[in-house]
């Protein structure tokens, strides 16, 4: 069941280069959204721009009735979002929860989550869910530079108390080498997979979210290692409810809607 609700802004501040974190009051969505689902936001104060924007939810706080959205400023809509503040006369509206989210195999014991850039955020609810279920989780994060690794500490906090057998912190790579390994995070994926195989406890689930080229490469790495892999596809969207067919993804079963058939797809289903 989807709703369209008014969601007042409670907090909205910059957390990194062109990266901002918004907290919204949205109890109906906080209590019902599943990892990987998204909300479709009408941003107030930009009526000439008529379309809503889809955003993954970073974290939820059910008792407070709030959701967090991590967003990157890429155009007019996200630029306008940075101007929203608590107490604004008109609040954003959210359609949600939308779509099919992450679905780890039932007997998943060891998972690898790979987040590129803001793609680290849509994996966080899944991460929390897997850790709570006792799954051994390894996290790989990639970003352009250290300041853009804005989700790292939150993952690290949970990992340090989760008792996972891998490192107690996310494995990180930055393009400019300011933090972690220099270069793309895909080499960390190779290493993590090799180490897990060598340890006798290989990964049985891989989830990746980020730029499409990254997801394509990681899907290939997963296929090579025989690990079930899921990706989260984001396309230009109009309705956000499955009606307009704007956001189709090419799959081996033909065109599918990223909004409601996805956004999470099995990597093998996507026609890369």
């Amino acid at each position: 069941m989807m709703v369209d609700i008014t969601a007042p802004v409670l907090d909205n501040h910059q957390v990194g280069p062109r990266l901002h974190l918004m907290t919204l009051s949205a109890p109906e969505i906080a209590s019902s959204i599943k990892p990987g689902q998204f909300v479709h936001m009408q941003i107030p104060g930009m009526e000439g721009h008529i379309l809503r924007r889809p955003f993954s939810v970073y974290a939820t706080y059910v008792s407070e009735g709030t959701v967090e959205i991590l967003y990157q400023v890429v155009g007019f809509g996200s630029e306008r979002m940075t101007k929203l503040a608590p107490g604004d006369e008109v609040a954003p509206k959210l359609i949600g929860p939308v779509g099919h989210g992450w679905a780890a195999p039932e007997k998943c014991e060891r998972a690898l989550l790979v987040g590129g850039g803001v793609g680290a955020a849509p994996l966080y609810l899944l991460f929390e869910q897997l850790v709570a279920a006792g799954v051994d989780v390894t996290v790989v994060l990639g970003a352009q530079t250290e300041a853009a690794l804005v989700c790292r500490e939150r993952y690290a906090r949970v990992l340090s108390t989760a008792g996972c057998c891998a490192e107690n912190a996310p494995l990180c790579a930055t393009d400019d080498g300011t933090f972690g390994r220099a270069g793309f995070c895909t080499s960390l994926v190779d290493d993590a997979v090799s180490e897990a195989n060598a340890s006798g406890k290989p990964f049985d689930y891989l989830a990746v979210c980020g730029p499409e080229p990254l997801m394509k490469i990681v899907s290939g790495q997963a296929a090579q290692a025989n690990i079930p892999c899921q990706v989260s596809m984001e396309k230009r969207m109009a309705c956000g409810v499955g009606a307009c067919l704007s956001c189709v993804v090419e799959t081996v079963h033909g065109k599918k809607r990223s909004c409601v058939d996805g956004p999470v797809f099995d990597a093998q289903e996507v026609a890369w």
């Binding site: 008529i50 379309l51 969207m237 309705c239 409810v241 499955g242 067919l245």
Partner: protein, 311 residues
């Protein structure tokens, strides 16, 4: 949140669109509402004057490459390309669902050839359909669509063939991408249309200057949304002075006030399209807005608004 229904009123909202009785003058613009299922969390589809379904062809079409949409000032461009799973799927899935909901149903019929339009209608004659809307105006396909709707002899031929294929109410949807839309409206009426609907989208384009490439993969696409309303109103007004069949008006209808403008210009009913993407309850909000206007103005029968423009 329950699906929204229009508020109670003593105003008569029932209109007759060329033999199709609508409980209120609001339907959906084809292609913006699928067959209603996707919007059923938000609005009670049976409370609409009708649901107009996404264009259907005989065997299903894949549609165009992505990107398929672009946002432009107060509107959008689309080049979906009539992606649909074909008439058999519509008959087995969507139409029974709409009937179960109690929704009046207008099926938008598309084709790549004269024959295909007829075959689609023939395939639907035993299905729960209340009216057909013949789409001779889609700008996003290479054959059929708009290429038919800009040429009087083609309009006459396709409308006559469809007319022979059914006795159900036949609505013909016109493209605005012509020099004189009244000429096309007259041809549709003379060939047996029970009503005309207008406007389909205006052919448009958007460019990404950084990449020096078109935003849409197909380069050009259909322009819709609030920005096109003045053009649509003008064409509805022109056609209403030219033909005597009723008009289903559309193009940027977002509020009850917009709907009233179309009715004053001569439309018997209106379709809500792009506004569904902005507000998933737009259809019912438009009905409520029409009720508000009628009650405030002391109008007891919504039919009194049709063509009531003073000029």
């Amino acid at each position: 949140m329950a699906a929204k229904t229009p508020r109670e009123t003593s105003v008569n909202l029932v209109v007759n669109l060329g033999g199709l009785t609508m409980k209120n003058p609001v339907t959906t613009a084809s292609g913006t509402f699928a067959a209603g299922m996707e919007y059923s969390d938000f609005v009670d589809v049976s409370a609409l004057g009708a649901v107009t379904t996404k264009g259907v062809s005989l065997n299903g079409w894949e549609g165009n490459a992505s990107p398929r949409i672009a946002e432009v000032p107060s509107g959008m461009l689309n080049s979906i390309g009539l992606q649909n799973p074909g008439v058999v799927h519509l008959k087995s899935e969507e139409l029974p669902w709409l009937r179960e909901q109690g929704a009046a149903t207008i099926v938008n019929v598309s084709g790549h050839s004269f024959d295909e339009y007829v075959q689609v209608i023939e395939a639907l004659e035993d299905a729960p359909v209340d009216a057909y809307e013949v789409n001779i105006s889609c700008p996003n396909v290479d054959a059929g669509g708009m290429t038919l709707g800009t040429h009087v002899p083609s309009v006459e031929k396709v409308v006559s063939l469809c007319r022979e294929a059914t006795s159900r109410p036949l609505i013909v949807k016109l493209t605005p991408n012509v020099t004189d839309i009244t000429e096309i409206a007259r041809a549709a009426e003379a060939s047996g249309a029970d009503a005309i609907s207008l406007i389909n989208t205006l052919l448009g384009m958007a460019i990404d200057v950084k990449r020096r490439r078109p935003v849409l993969a197909r380069v050009v696409g259909g322009f819709s949304g609030p920005a096109v309303k003045p053009v649509a109103l003008r064409m509805v007004w022109q056609c209403s002075k030219t033909v005597s069949v009723p008009i289903l008006g559309m193009g940027g209808v977002t509020t009850g006030t917009d709907a009233v403008e179309f009715m004053l210009a001569g439309a018997t009913a209106v379709a809500v399209g792009t506004a569904n993407f902005m507000n998933p309850q737009a259809t019912v909000d438009v009905i409520d807005g029409i009720i508000d206007y009628c009650e405030e103005q002391g109008v007891n029968d919504v039919n009194d608004l049709i063509g009531a423009l003073e000029c």
